[in-house]
Symmetry: D2
Subunit: 134 residues, 4 copies
């Protein structure tokens, strides 16, 4: 298992382009935050889909690292996202992941994505990660 | 319907953060290209998942605009991506979209994603767009 | 809105081949049950995937009818299912659906599927329904 | 690798409830057929979603067995289906699968589903199978 600090150190070193901040990790879950500015918007004054997909993918990755430790080569095998509501253009996006299955070779989780301060999710994702042999 | 030039002009004006270049559009299909550099890589020397998801989403959007004209508020309702092979860290990503259904309210398409020069796809996506009433 | 009895009556009349029993419906949710016998099993002594997909689809349909009333022509537009654990060959499958979005044209929900008596889901599905204009 | 006859023999013995007929298998692909009668219909005079999901799952399973041989415990890990058009109530459903990736642990394929005689697919599915260690 990896702590929040372990994962922050790892992401800083290995994913310098990552813009998600880890809020919490542990107990088969993780919460991450992505600041929203002009770069993250699309026509209609809303957050672009790829930003939401990125937050979902990172939340899932962080939750898995929290369980299996720092395994850089854990890789997404599939991800499905449903866009549910128009996100606020001026609120951070929060991604809350719960792992639903943690097997030897595959982990599967779901991520609810919110505009900060709102109860209703703006999107929902499920994804599977392949875990390389130890 | 919108031409390749119409869509390039629209994306330049409205999605200045977009990094995908349109290669072809028409006949219910579109091909887009995304340059790959250090910003697009992840540990293991491969292209990050969110870059591939972005290319899939843009290819689908461009293919749809090519059929229905410039409708900025067409929005993705869902997207599923399977990651199939490790992309090359030094080749552009090419996304080739075919529309499978173009209804009044919903369009559905599939996108095959390649590292340029390779025959085997690195990922495959399907997605649905909701089309606002005219 | 439709009550549990309304929906049972409708399904009995219109879907005589349906094998799912409605346990609960309301508050943007539904729970359905499918008996498991030899017809539902596959090699390895487990419940076949299509049975789980069927329960997911029916749970979603029932939850939506509970909100919008008896609208036979509401149709699934997409469904994604992840298989998480081997179901028991001798327990009923329970599908618990929550609607995540109920728009004018689209409803999206998630369904957790269980072998009765187990806390850990055997599968998880998300799906979108298109709602015809009133 | 398994031949068409090997797979027919296996399915007959182990999946007696299977209603899909194998038309072709080989070269990382498979075609299967499902007869459509009153049991397969839903209100609106169309083929029910679960029947289409079943055909997709079987087509994928058969295509994989054609490559890896008779491995009963290959199991679906995820399946996504998009429903594209109303199937004919009086035509067989044909499912045509192509394998997109065949790894040591995971196989991923896509399936186009047709009402026999029609060029436009009624549905499209992608799915992943986990392959147990040899």
């Amino acid at each position: 298992m990896a702590t929040k600090d372990d994962i922050i150190e790892f992401l800083t070193a290995e994913f310098p382009q990552n813009k998600c901040v880890i809020e919490d990790v542990g107990n088969r879950s993780a919460t991450v935050r992505h600041k929203i500015g002009i770069d993250e918007l699309r026509p209609g004054g809303t957050v672009s889909g790829p930003v939401l997909m990125t937050v979902a993918d990172v939340a899932l990755y962080v939750a898995i690292l929290g369980e299996i430790g720092i395994v850089p080569l854990a890789v997404t095998t599939s991800l499905t996202i449903h866009f549910l509501r128009k996100p606020s253009p001026d609120k951070d996006i929060i991604g809350a992941c719960k792992i639903m299955k943690l097997g030897k070779s595959l982990a599967v989780g779901e991520v609810s994505l919110y505009s900060e301060g709102s109860k209703d999710p703006v999107a929902h994702a499920t994804g599977a990660y392949f875990l390389p042999p130890a």
